[in-house]
């Protein structure tokens, strides 16, 4: 018997277990998946939890429920990967593998920024990229009386790069509904050149910040948080005051990647952009947030990667060359508040454009334009996630590679 080992039972790992168990012979391949945590979170829900749109129970389930029969599920901490010996050391046992899939994801590292985890952490400074952070923020917002709300990105890359902007949009709607928008000043702070960095998007969407009265501070690389004056401070001593700071801390790959010497300086694993094979070891494959590929760290990306990676694992096992297939395809809903959302569809090289999705000319979803339909799509996606995506069921009419059907290249970027 040969062993296929999957590290991490999040979105990517769970999908791979489901894809591969139905494709690998039971009498030839053992499949084992390891994750130290019992709970599987629907992470897109962390955006809605603070605004009381979702309840706790809508964003978490027991992870084992989504692991298929015939896959050995081990709930233990991973100590170290030993790529030269084809072994993985867990807290009290060592596993051998013939093929390894690393799906250990990414997580926030607030301790990387001086003063972030200080006296104000979880009092006036919150994250919403963890279940605990999102929940604590909800409780804060329920009784917050207003002031300066600063939504802040520490540095790229981050998981779901549009989530901070969505948070700012949803905050605008939330405070309007509560009748206290006049008491809240919202500022969006980014290390990039603006809220929108791709020419098509800044042309099509720049109106959103104005319409929602969200102030922008760009090119801000945080150096530390001043807990005494309640300001974030950058390397040029630019200071932005806050009463409530919602920050996206540095995102990093899991510590086990660092302990195993497999990652870059953010613990992301150098991975072939198109085959998803690790660059250092031919029998190690990487998927989802754990890779260093320049695609968005998002569930849709993991979903498209999983289809390519499944084929490539089968090709690898049989000794065939791998498909250079993955194109960086991402497909993301972006909540813009007031029960509307945008949808974007793009890849490594093609910027988001206008058009209809998934059916050319019909839609029903609109690309890069606000619509109520898109918002319903985002909400429906939670059901799709739990019932289709994790189980590796292909989403009808949505292909792994980006399709150019139905796309309209009509946006002429502004001359700058």
């Amino acid at each position: 018997m040969k062993n296929l080992l999957i590290l991490g039972a999040g979105t990517s790992g769970t999908m791979m277990a489901n894809h591969l168990r139905s494709k690998l012979y039971l009498n030839k391949w053992n499949i084992t998946i390891v994750d130290q945590y019992k709970t599987h979170y629907y992470q897109p829900g962390f955006l809605f939890l603070p605004f009381d749109t979702y309840t706790e129970n809508q964003v978490k389930k027991v992870g084992e429920k989504f692991i298929p029969m015939g896959v050995n599920y081990i709930q233990k901490k991973i100590e170290k990967i030993l790529p030269k010996e084809n072994k993985v050391v867990l807290e009290d046992e060592t596993l051998n593998y013939d093929v390894l899939i690393i799906a250990t994801g990414s997580k926030i590292a607030p301790e990387e920024t001086e003063g972030l985890v200080g006296p104000l952490w979880k009092k006036d400074i919150f994250d919403f990229y963890t279940y605990e952070g999102s929940l604590a923020l909800r409780n804060k917002l329920r009784t917050w009386e207003g002031g300066k709300l600063v939504v802040h990105i520490t540095e790229m890359p981050i998981k779901c790069p549009v989530a901070p902007l969505e948070f700012a949009f949803l905050a605008d709607s939330y405070f309007r509904k509560k009748g206290m928008r006049d008491k809240v000043d919202i500022t969006y702070v980014t290390p990039l050149t603006g809220a929108f960095t791709k020419p098509t998007c800044s042309t099509a969407l720049a109106y959103l910040l104005k319409e929602k009265d969200i102030h922008l501070q760009s090119d801000f690389a945080i150096e530390h948080v001043d807990n005494d004056t309640k300001e974030i401070v950058d390397y040029e001593d630019r200071r932005i005051p806050f009463d409530l700071l919602v920050t996206i801390p540095t995102n990093m790959g899991d510590e086990v990647i660092e302990r195993s010497g497999l990652g870059d300086d953010l613990n992301f694993i150098p991975t072939d952009h198109n085959t998803l094979q690790s660059k250092a070891h031919e029998n190690i494959f990487v998927i989802g947030d754990a890779t260093n590929v320049p695609a968005s760290k998002a569930g849709s990306v993991a979903h498209f990667q999983a289809e390519t990676l499944t084929d490539n694992i089968l090709l690898y096992i049989d000794g065939y060359p791998l498909k250079k297939e993955f194109d960086g395809h991402a497909n993301c809903f972006i909540e813009t508040g007031n029960n509307k959302a945008l949808l974007i569809d793009f890849n490594y090289v093609t910027e988001p454009v206008h058009g209809k999705f998934p059916f050319a000319k019909i839609g029903p979803l609109q690309l890069l334009k606000e619509s109520v339909f898109n918002h319903w799509g985002k909400l429906a996606f939670r059901w799709i996630y739990w019932n289709m995506l994790l189980k590796g069921i292909a989403i009808p009419f949505v292909s792994r590679n980006m399709s150019f059907k139905g796309k309209v290249f009509d946006i002429k970027p502004d001359e700058k």
């Binding site: 540095e155 790229m156 890359p157 790069p161 549009v162 902007l165 290390p191 990039l192 050149t193 929108f196 960095t197 791709k198 020419p199 998007c201 969407l205 760009s218 090119d219 690389a221 150096e223 390397y235 040029e236 540095t250 870059d264 300086d265 953010l266 150098p270 952009h273 260093n292 320049p294 968005s296 991402a330 993301c332 972006i334 974007i344 793009f346 988001p352 970027p413 502004d414 001359e415 700058k416």
Partner: protein, 103 residues
């Protein structure tokens, strides 16, 4: 995309003035782009620019943090070299694409 003559060379640039093809870059082009931004390039600038170009050629992602850890400059020094937007300006002068997010 359009063609612009910089330091006597016709190069393809994006609508925001970033070089589309990093192989068209040379030091004179760097000097001229820097002058437009208001930066006088020194050998230290070129050390950073070459580091950024090497990373980009190796298809590795660029972060301010990464530059800070490169051993060439600290982040504070990077700001000193390229004030008011170190990555934005250094990537433009280095002839590599602008760092972007997904929208």
């Amino acid at each position: 995309m359009s063609v612009k003559t910089i330091a006597g060379v016709a190069v393809n640039i994006s609508e925001e003035g970033y070089l589309e093809d990093m192989s068209q870059w040379n030091e004179e082009i760097a000097n001229e782009i820097a002058k437009e931004i208001g930066i006088e390039l020194t050998p230290k600038h070129f050390e950073v620019l070459n580091y950024l170009r090497d990373k980009t050629a190796a298809k590795e992602s660029l972060t301010i943090r990464g530059v800070g850890k490169s051993g060439i400059v600290t982040i504070k020094e990077l700001y000193g070299l390229f004030p008011k937007g170190p990555l934005k300006f250094s990537s433009k002068i280095a002839g590599i694409p602008k760092p972007t997010s997904c929208i």
